[in-house]
């Protein structure tokens, strides 16, 4: 099958029953997407498919053919390519607010946040809570994650007047 991930086009040979998560992790070496439950409960494997957050452990890899997949590894290169510096503002904000404790769930959370901020650049805290409700975090109690997303929104709105 042919998959487009983070702008790269890959020819992939994998069993038909493999999920997108399995192909990302075990064929393409993109291990930033995590497997926490393998049944769609935790959201750690969230990636963007055509810009929408999707649970990659519930999606067959074949279903992603012809669509643009973005994983956590794709954010910083895209940000640099767009003329930015450092990591994506969402990634920077998660680091600055202490939202990354064990970090295991956060690649999925950051991608959900990225999708939210594309659709709604100035969300309220309630909107952030709602957008991240599919991403379980066991370390933070979510407080610093909410701060991170609001910080990323504030930084972005300062940069693009």
């Amino acid at each position: 099958m042919q998959l487009t991930v983070n702008g790269d086009v890959h020819e992939v040979d994998a069993p038909d029953h493999w999920t997108l998560l399995e192909v990302l992790r075990y064929r393409l070496g993109l291990t930033g997407s995590k497997q926490g439950c393998d049944k769609g409960d935790c959201g750690a494997c969230t990636v963007l498919v055509d810009g929408e957050p999707m649970i990659s452990c519930l999606m067959l890899a074949r279903e992603a053919e012809g669509r643009a997949v973005t994983t956590i590894e794709g954010l910083m290169p895209a940000h640099l390519a767009a003329g930015g510096s450092g990591a994506d503002p969402v990634q920077e904000a998660f680091d600055r607010t202490g939202a990354l404790q064990c970090g295991f769930c956060q690649s999925g959370t950051m991608l959900s946040a990225r999708a939210l901020l594309h659709a709604n650049p100035n969300p309220t805290e309630a909107e952030v809570r709602s957008a991240l409700a599919g991403n379980l975090c066991r370390c933070t109690g979510y407080t610093q994650i909410l701060q991170a997303v609001l910080l990323a929104a504030a930084v972005a709105s300062k940069e693009t007047p």
Binding site: P15, R25, Y26, G29, L30, T31, G32, S33, K34, Q35, G36, C37, D38, K39, D41, C42, A44, T71, I72, E73, L75, M76, A87, Q91, E92, F94, D95, R96, T97, G98, A99, L100, Q101, C102, G103, F104, C105, Q106, S107, M110, V128, R129, S130, L132, A133, G134, N135, L136, C137, R138, C139, T140, G141, Y142, T143, Q144, I145, L146
Partner: protein, 786 residues
């Protein structure tokens, strides 16, 4: 205690440059960009995948295992059973009752029985299904009270006390006399249910046995050192031929503190096949691996004088341990030993009994052994306040033990900021003007607690350092810290960077940390009992203070000035009497390397001698205790019985906050976990021995929508023995949230919730019981709107 163990609370160079700041974490951006490598991200050439066959029986003899068809399946390279790994182990040297795979019998559903290594996961899964196990079922113990009363059959046949795992009875002062002389006595039964850690990363291990006879195991463990020791013990390989590495870890909370089946199984299968082997648990397997919070049935009796001063506390506790000992001996002590602060009471007795049952073994979960008694006692204290017509905060204030004190069971308290914690939550929650005045259905509750910053008793008794680090410094200007500590997301590697940069006057990016690799790092006992900031922090300062004079002297010699004039600030060296004279720290390091040869230092820490002079008196004795108070605001829907927690004000005395951002993260994460245990989570086992909901959907952990607003209030009572005065922050702040919710529900609707979890059903039941009691005594009132 050696002088090396206490370093004072003062900044090393006049003022703090890094300590106290909201600095980034050393691994934050690696985690943010997906670059951080967790155990399951490791792929080795030729690596096989292993799977476990697990017991379908709660308690049974194994009369036969036929693995021949699995062995014949193409792609299968190894199959092992209990006979291949027969050596018993356990985290505590006195209670070694586990094997990597069941030998002769199984003691709970989900216990590993056999393991397969194959070329891929699908083949390994198919092979596991081909293994036939013949079981002869035995009576299964699900109710802990049955285990208390009968021992035939015994869950562990060679255990001297039958199904009793451990019994502790300790008494201090004249309990009976104090209770009979008390003005008010409250007595009640409390129940704390089972809960589990549910880290988002499932357990994983990768093992490689090399042709040179060296075994390397990468494991998602929070205790590299104990895994190292236990691998040597079980496999019969000398420890110097084993290397254990903890990669980046995806959450633990105590759930990765035991050596587990997968570490031995991957090692053994790698030895047999000559290839690297990986084993990743499924989420369901994580639930059956468990080692979570022990269910406790607790009976408390507390007496007080009219003014609220506590007279005595009497506790009787039955602990449901599950099938194996794990840390249970310590849990049984902690259930009593850790209750004796932050309040002063002159008489105390506890009797705690841990029993075996045919369920996944319990173990240490955040706030090990002390969260359950704290729940019971803090609710009982509220009941006492009600009886004596005292404000709940006031009764707590009247009983505070204070700083520089000794508890009734002989524990030494150094710093203590709990009074300030209570002041903080009282003020921030608007307690005085709001409690009792929020209208029917909404209320405020309070609770307080204390917790250890590590204990003075290592898991296996030995006189060697409890924490140790090594520094390597060279002409590149970089200091590499080799630390045996396990960073499990709490930030212990970041704390190491802050402390070394502070002590040596360097910029943060001049310090990098290598950790939790037994080949590279000195021995540290690992991430448990909230010991790392305190113990590793002191070891780091010790190491820095050995090397710092060399750096200073090298510069002083170059400048031909007195060493007292040389100051390192953020990577720049200055002459305090000549502002024009500076050099980069990297240059100073070159001068020192020239003058003193290759630069390096080791540092270590051991606790002082602590604890009461009686059997078990050292268990729970800590060099410093943290203190916490919470106020919570809840509303109760009297139609549905649903409790909503709106706000938690968390005041925590962590000593000096080395990085307030990381401290707040620990406080919020702890409070979150407490609220979750109180209102949503339930790790329960069906009478058949099956887990009632072994998934992250059925075991309900809160999402961002279920989580209340947390307000972190840091209190800094500088501890005389902590690194710059720091104490723990990772476990203490969990304790009060659970009783505070029960107490807030009382304020909201007048019912006492003494059984966890506080489900809508229990709330409705209590409301109905209250109403029918009221109807009996005052029929007219009960007909009203309440």
């Amino acid at each position: 205690m050696a002088a090396r163990d206490i370093h004072g609370i003062e900044p090393p160079w006049g003022e703090f440059r890094h300590v106290g700041r909201r600095s980034r974490k050393v691994d934050g951006l690696a985690k943010a960009t997906g670059a951080a490598v967790y155990t399951d991200d490791i792929v080795l050439p030729g690596m096989l995948h292993a799977k476990l066959l697990r017991s379908t029986q709660a308690h049974a003899r194994i009369s036969g295992i036929d693995a021949e068809r699995a062995r014949q399946l193409p792609g299968v390279l190894g199959v092992i059973t209990g006979e291949d790994l027969p050596v018993k182990y356990g985290i505590l040297p006195w209670t070694q009752d586990e094997t990597a795979l069941a030998v002769g019998k199984v003691r709970h559903v989900g216990e590993p029985v056999a393991a397969v290594a194959a070329i891929d996961e699908d083949t390994a899964n198919a092979a596991v299904k081909l293994i036939r196990v013949e079981y002869e079922p035995l009576h299964a113990y699900i109710d802990p009270f049955e285990s208390l009363s009968r021992h035939d059959p015994s869950i562990h046949e060679d255990h001297k006390t039958g199904n009793i795992s451990k019994h502790v009875h300790l008494s201090f002062g004249e309990v009976d006399a104090a209770l009979s002389g008390a003005d008010a006595v409250v007595e009640g039964d409390y129940f704390f249910h089972g809960t589990t850690h549910a880290p988002i990363e499932p357990h994983c291990a990768v093992a490689r046995y090399g042709a040179d006879g060296v075994l390397t195991v990468w494991s998602s463990t929070q205790i590299t050192h104990y895994v190292h020791r236990t691998l040597a013990h079980v496999l019969g390989i000398p420890a110097h031929r084993i290397r254990v590495i903890q990669p980046c870890l995806g959450g633990a909370f105590g759930g990765k503190s035991d050596p587990f089946s997968l570490e031995f199984v991957t090692a053994k299968l790698s030895m047999l096949t000559g290839r690297p082997v990986k084993l990743l648990y499924t989420r369901e397997e994580v639930f059956y691996t468990h080692r979570g919070r022990h269910p406790m049935h607790m009976r408390y009796r507390t007496g007080a004088a009219r003014d609220g001063r506590l007279a005595a506390v009497d506790a009787k506790i039955v602990i449901d341990g599950g099938a194996y000992s794990s840390f249970g001996l310590v849990t049984t002590y902690y259930a009593g030993q850790l209750l004796t602060g932050p309040y002063d009471f002159p008489a105390y007795r506890f009797d705690s009994t841990r029993v075996f049952t045919n369920k996944p073994a319990c173990g240490p979960k955040r706030g090990h052994g002390s969260v359950q008694p704290r729940f019971a006692f803090e609710v009982q204290l509220d009941e006492l306040a009600e009886k004596l017509k005292l404000d709940p905060i006031e009764i707590r204030r009247r009983n505070l033990i204070g700083a520089r004190a000794t508890t009734v069971n002989g524990q030494r308290i150094t710093s203590n900021g709990v009074a300030k914690c209570l002041d903080f939550v009282e003020k921030e929650s608007g307690w005085t003007s709001r409690r009792g005045r929020l209208g029917y259905g909404r209320g405020l509750g309070v609770a307080a607690s204390m917790y250890i910053s590590g204990t003075n008793y290592p898991i296996y008794p030995n006189p060697m350092p409890q924490a140790a680090v090594q520094l390597k410094i060279d002409r590149s200007g970089l200091v590499t810290v080799f630390s045996g500590a396990n960073d499990i997301g709490q930030g212990s590697n970041s704390v190491a960077q802050y402390l070394v940069a502070e002590e040596l006057g360097l910029a943060l990016d001049q310090v990098r940390v290598v950790s939790a690799d037994t080949d590279l790092c000195p021995v540290d006992l690992g991430a448990y009992s909230s010991r790392e900031t305190f113990m590793v922090g002191n070891a780091l300062i010790d190491a820095c203070r050995k090397i710092r004079p060399q750096l200073v002297q090298a510069v002083a010699a170059k400048w031909q000035v007195d060493a007292a004039r040389v100051r390192f600030v953020d990577g720049v060296v200055m002459d305090l009497q000549d502002a024009s004279r500076t050099m980069k720290a990297a240059e100073a390091i070159c001068l020192a390397e020239e003058k003193f040869d290759t630069l390096g230092a080791t540092g270590a820490y051991n606790t002082p001698t602590l604890g009461g002079d009686y059997r078990g008196g050292t268990i729970g004795a800590s060099p410093a205790y943290s203190f916490t108070a919470h106020a919570v605001e809840v509303s109760v829907d009297v139609e549905t019985g649903r409790i909503t927690c709106h706000n938690v004000w968390i005041a925590h005395d962590c000593g000096r906050a080395l990085n307030p951002m990381l401290v707040a993260g620990q406080m919020e994460g702890s409070a979150y976990m407490g609220v979750a245990e109180a209102l949503m989570e339930n790790h329960d086992v069906h009478p058949s021995g099956l887990h009632k909901g072994p998934s992250l959907l059925d075991y309900r952990i809160p999402t961002s929508l279920d989580t209340p607003a947390f307000h972190s209030l840091i209190v800094e009572s500088l501890d005389p023995e902590g690194p710059y005065g720091a104490k723990e922050a990772g476990e203490g702040p969990l304790h009060p949230s659970i009783p505070a919710i029960s107490n807030a529900v009382f304020d909201a609707v007048g019912i006492r919730l003494r059984r966890l979890p506080f489900t809508p059903g229990r709330v409705l039941e209590a409301l109905r019981a209250r109403e029918s009691a009221a109807a009996k005594s005052e029929p007219a009132l009960a007909a009203g709107t309440r």
